[in-house]
Symmetry: C2
Subunit: 245 residues, 2 copies
DNA sequence: TCGTACAAAAATATCGATTTTTTTATGGAC
DNA sequence: GTCCATAAAAAAATCGATATTTTTGTACGA
């Protein structure tokens, strides 16, 4: 075992993998487990690791160049995100997807986010308002796609999009609910990636976000909720046909 | 802290840990990881492992008599239930509790379960109705406490109580939402255990369950929701004073 | 042809030792 | 006394080897 270490120590340029972390702490060197967790997570969301695929420890161990323990631990952690399934004595596998499950996901997201949004609108203070404005602005400043021609997703947009939606509901008063919404959001991203669909039907998503932002700031819970659900439903219905196998 | 060990080894009379399992599969021999998972979970819920307590691998390894890998894996799995926290490079610890967090938990439970109950009432078929009736009946057939004098909780009642509440919302149409409710329920059990309070104020919990059951079967979503939230709020407010540290 | 039993192979699960990192303890310097 | 550096101890993380279990493949008999 020569010097894999030196190489690994350098990782993590600080771009920060959103909230997708295996632990709470952030400072100090990153453990092999955390690294494996992040990479596995990315590979599952991006679809490199296919739904239903068996996750053989030995294979991953070689591929990611770590021991069995970190791999197994990372997979165990991924279990909570519903990205990985664990079967006693028969290892791990990537969670399956289906049109039915996607429908459920969409429905559940709408339920939870609507509730969170209403509470947020009810209780959000001026700091929340400012954060919403800022998040909306930041989202509007980056293009949806890296290249308008080939419709390759812009990671910066993805990140800001999530941040905008999470900020909207951040004042709901329940960290638990926020966590659930966060999970569902990431699940949804996975479905979006898997659909393989790059371009969306011509609709002005930016305008939708703007309207949503305005309604929230105007404390119009009814309107905001309606816009949010419509926002999700529209994307959802579009994706639905793409799934299945 | 001398020999808590002997005590620990005896736990788990085989009464089956509800749905608290580390994996999906059920047949075949149970892995060390699953065993450790179950025991750790029980010990945390029951309060043997105190909130905030550091979970030293070596200690647990000796106490539970398994290697480091199963312990670490089990702890990683417990992370998803919010029973254990993981800190990169500094191990695991039992999740903390606080009155504030309990309030949040209670609130979130009400939000989610109310939604689930309404959906369940809206979509539940005759099979659901029958299951509800059955669950309510079974719950009514066992005493709340093992001994009416010392108010020691009756595990059978605990299990049936959970089953009743989960059955009520089982027709909500979202496995995801059910999972969340399940998690929150178990969190709540932990708080109940930690409060150390055995006896509840004189109120007819059985009657409350009966009324809730009736309202659900009568498809009276408004009434059922109100009863459910009241049911939780009452217990919650009672427990609140007991917590803190 | 099908089902079964058994052996070989593959993969999982587990262990115990080793390496790394964090925590604790100690000893000045200011 | 407080701050910092450093050494020692403790704990976490990781590895690689071994033990178990599941899966696969094959021959046999109904």
């Amino acid at each position: 075992m020569p010097d894999r270490k030196a190489e690994l120590k350098v990782i993590d340029g600080g771009s920060a993998a959103d909230n997708a972390s295996a632990n709470k702490d952030s400072s100090g060197p990153e453990s092999m487990t955390s690294q494996a967790y992040t990479r596995l997570r990315e590979d599952i969301i991006s679809g490199i690791l296919r739904p239903g695929q068996k996750l053989k420890i030995e294979e991953l161990r070689l591929q990611y160049d770590v021991g069995t323990s970190p791999i197994r631990e990372a997979l165990s952690l991924l279990t909570s995100d519903h990205f990985v399934e664990r079967l006693d004595q028969r290892g791990f596998k990537v969670s399956n997807v289906s049109e039915e499950e996607f429908g459920e996901l969409l429905k559940t997201r709408c339920w939870l986010e609507e509730k969170a949004l209403r509470e947020s609108i009810l209780h959000g203070d001026s700091s929340w308002e400012e954060q919403v404005v800022l998040a909306a602005y930041r989202l509007s400043r980056v293009p949806r796609y890296e290249n308008e021609n080939d419709f390759v997703a812009n990671p910066e947009w993805e990140q800001r999009h999530k941040h905008f939606h999470m900020t909207l509901i951040s004042a709901c008063g329940s960290a638990l609910l926020l966590k659930f919404c966060d999970q569902l959001y990431d699940q949804n991203v996975r479905y979006r990636q898997l659909s393989g669909k790059k371009a969306y039907p011509t609709r002005d998503i930016t305008a939708e976000h703007g309207a949503l932002c305005d309604a929230a700031l105007a404390r119009d819970a009814e309107l905001a909720s309606r816009l949010l659900v419509e926002h999700y439903d529209r994307t959802g219905n579009f994706l639905k046909n793409q799934i299945g196998k």
